[in-house]
């Protein structure tokens, strides 16, 4: 869209033309992504290596078929869909931070909102990756495109998921892209061009995770998923993983990009969110476990298998109890008074919460839906090496996307890169933007 027809921007100084500056902007971003300190190169190389291992495993899986996984007709979804489900939550949760920032006009939060939205973008990329590797025929991906293909909308929940995930990706790309570009132009962003989308994305964040829950909850033949509490539980756990990851991320940014000031206020606000959602999640988890286990009947077998094992088979038992332990640990840590003063305590709580939800919303939710099968056969599943490799590869690629996005956006937000500074060519070659990604003490060993 052209912003040049807008009412005069209130930014002082020169008014660069937004259309003419755009190629320059893209070029600066490109340069930023490919220039950095030694640590940046080393990190990206390591992530690339993991991503390539995953890519190679996927190539083998495509050639030989899904036999390379340990999924069967009994357990027809496994680690991929488990990770997909979890990451949708992360994507939704990352944007939930927008709520305090815009609804309550919390000024300090405004600065970190961009971090959350960039995280959402990277998380959606991961989600799409997991869907792609779970497909038997990714070469037919175009069948879901409305018009050319035959998207079964609105009947299939999966097609809803396709629609809302892509919509969410576009929304967040627009918001981030617009805000960063305006910062680059040193203009004040025009509210009309992003505020409506911000509010839309808040609602949309709820919808992506509810739709993902309905994907499972809508299957009458799978009693373990067929629960009205599933969508609320999904939302609550999104409110855990999003803030937990963002708290950790803000600490990393503090260390590597000190120029981007991260105030204590937002971190404390996110910790307050965590203190509540972790408890609500435990409560909901407990009520579901109670209903399933206490009432007995046909519905409870999957839960029995999950928590206690069934007919001598208990592959999931260690998983779920580890998940429970992590959730409890995070609940205790986050409520210790030290979590307000000691950063390590808070970060440990975040790691525990993140791991706990990963198990609970991943393997602990998807696999027991299939065990026992609809004809009550107990067939177990443990992911194959191929599945682990591909999953690691997708997460590595997602992390790369996140790092690159941050690396492009943060220097703009701190004012180091802008149209006036005519991108990086005018910066000293030895310490370009990379300087902002390293703490001052370690700047000496850059190149």
């Amino acid at each position: 869209m052209s912003a040049s027809s807008l009412p005069p921007p209130s930014a002082p100084g020169e008014r660069p033309d937004s259309v003419l500056s755009y190629p320059k902007f893209l070029w600066s971003m490109w340069r930023l992504a490919f220039t950095g300190s030694f640590a940046y190169y080393a990190g990206m190389t390591a992530l690339t290596a993991v991503a390539l291992v995953g890519l190679n495993a996927w190539a083998h899986q495509l050639a030989d078929g899904m036999v390379r996984t340990h999924m069967t007709d009994h357990v027809s979804w496994g680690l991929y869909i488990a990770n997909f489900t979890f990451t949708v939550g992360l994507a939704a949760g990352a944007v939930m931070m927008v709520i305090p920032a815009y609804l309550y006009d919390d000024e300090e939060m405004h600065d970190v909102v961009i971090v959350g939205e960039l995280l959402a973008v990277a998380a959606i990329v991961v989600c799409v990756g997991f869907i792609a590797v779970d497909m038997g025929r990714p070469d037919r991906m175009w069948h879901v495109i409305p018009g050319i293909g035959r998207l079964n909308w609105p009947v299939s929940m999966l097609s809803w998921d396709v629609v809302v995930l892509n919509g969410y990706l576009l929304l967040n790309l627009h918001i981030c892209g617009y805000l960063v570009y305006m910062k680059y132009l040193r203009r004040r962003p025009n509210k009309r061009f992003y505020l409506p989308f911000v509010f839309l994305s808040i609602g949309w964040a709820i919808s992506i995770h509810s739709v993902t829950a309905f994907l499972y909850a809508g299957l009458g033949g799978r009693p373990f998923w067929n629960s009205a509490l599933l969508a609320p539980r999904f939302i609550v756990s999104a409110f855990i993983t999003g803030p937990a990851f963002v708290i950790l991320l803000l600490h990393v940014i503090r260390r590597f990009a000190p120029a981007f000031r991260v105030a204590d206020g937002p971190i404390e606000l996110l910790a307050r969110v965590l203190r509540i959602t972790i408890l609500v999640n435990l409560f909901m988890f407990g009520s579901e476990a109670f209903t399933e286990l206490y009432s007995g009947g046909a519905h409870h077998v999957s839960a029995r298998y999950l928590f206690l094992g069934l007919h001598g088979k208990h592959a999931l038992v260690p998983w779920i109890w580890t998940g429970v332990a992590l959730n409890l640990t995070s609940a205790i840590l986050v409520h210790l008074p030290q979590s307000r003063t000691n950063r390590t305590v808070l970060m440990a709580a975040c790691v525990a919460a993140f791991g706990g939800v990963w198990i609970e919303k991943g393997m602990g939710l998807i696999i027991p839906g299939f065990v026992p099968s609809t004809l009550h056969e107990v067939v177990e599943y443990t992911p194959s090496l191929t599945e682990w490799k591909i999953s690691a590869g997708i997460f590595a690629a997602g992390l790369m996307v996140l790092v690159v996005l941050l690396k492009m956006a943060l220097p703009v937000f701190t004012g180091r890169i802008s149209v006036a500074r005519s991108s990086m060519t005018s910066l000293p070659p030895a310490a370009p933007s990379s300087a902002s990604l390293l703490p001052p003490s370690s700047r000496g060993d850059v190149s």
């Binding site: 390539l52 038997g136 037919r140 991906m141 079964n152 999966l158 097609s159 009458g220 033949g221």
Partner: protein
């Protein structure tokens, strides 16, 4: 580090990266060599014109010969108006011999290594309909005292959960009541497999392997042609037979005559007689799937 050194390192890095990338995707060559543009761009079954359909069938026949070394005929057989097919099974008579499952395996060109079949036979506790107490892996002389046998295959649900969930309409219900899959349209997401309450769908985890001489050459597009890797398949009541007035392979193989098949719209058919005179059950009635596969007992 000076500029030139930096550049050299960058060039070296990207060369190594490109080499690693090429190595990583190398297995895709085998994958791509198995595909043709015609296959990649083929339209949905229901959008093919008669001419296009002829071309597709010819391509599929040539493909089958190239891949499996057997000359086959693949037809596109449409439902007959005024016919709605239904199946009934007499649980008092079924002895659990699994001859039906075996016949299905052969008739439908199932993968030999996995010994696949669309039919699973559960050995059940007499006096109980509790699937929890059944087993499909029994391995002894049948019938075993105190047991009865419950063969389960696609129930061709009138309100089919599998059809509802498919994101690309690769599976649908035909006018004669048979739920079919377009194997050339399915994207292999396996959502239908998760949705089916009767464990009736199978996924092709790898390319099916069948020796040329064991292939059943009488095939149709929507049923027993050898399926591609990475798609879902299911029982079609042998539509390549039943739409021509023959009986399903499982029924012909049944030594006890436990199986009854026919046109539900024909008041004089045997199946209508069974539905009118026997106590008839359907599986998991509470789910509202409305099966066209009925179970009954003799008294």
């Amino acid at each position: 580090m000076d500029k030139a050194k930096r550049r050299t390192l960058k060039v070296l890095g990207s060369t190594l990266g490109a080499a690693a990338f090429a190595y990583a995707i190398e297995p895709l060559r085998a994958w791509a060599s198995d595909m043709s543009l015609g296959e990649l761009l083929q339209k949905h079954y229901r959008e093919l014109t008669p001419d296009e359909m002829r071309a597709v069938l010819a391509r599929l026949e040539a493909d089958a010969e190239a891949k499996y070394g057997r000359e086959v005929t693949i037809e596109d057989i449409r439902p007959t108006p005024g016919v709605e097919l239904g199946y009934a099974l007499n649980l008092s008579v079924c002895i659990g011999c699994r001859k039906c499952a075996e016949a299905c395996h052969v008739e439908n060109n199932h993968d030999r290594t996995t010994n696949n079949s669309y039919i699973r036979v559960l050995e059940m506790e007499q006096g109980s309909f509790d699937l929890e107490k059944g087993t499909t892996t029994y391995d002894h002389a049948v019938p075993s005292p105190g047991k009865y046998y419950l063969p389960v295959q696609c129930q061709q649900c009138d309100n089919a959960p599998c059809v509802k969930v498919c994101p690309v309409q690769a599976t649908w219900k035909e006018s004669d009541g048979i739920v079919v899959v377009d194997y050339n349209w399915c994207i292999g997401c396996r959502y239908c497999e998760a949705a089916c309450p009767y464990h009736a769908r199978r996924f092709n985890w790898s390319k099916p392997e069948i020796p040329a001489e064991e292939i059943n050459p009488n095939q149709s597009y929507l049923s027993n042609r050898v399926r591609p890797q990475g798609v879902v398949e299911k029982c079609t009541f042998c539509l390549h037979r039943t739409r021509k007035g023959l009986l399903p392979a499982c029924l012909e193989a049944c030594p006890t005559g436990a199986r009854v098949f026919g046109n539900l719209l024909d008041p004089n058919s045997e199946i209508r007689w069974v539905l009118a005179h026997k106590r008839v059950y359907v599986l998991k009635e509470e789910l509202g799937t409305r099966p066209r596969f009925f179970y009954y007992f003799d008294n």
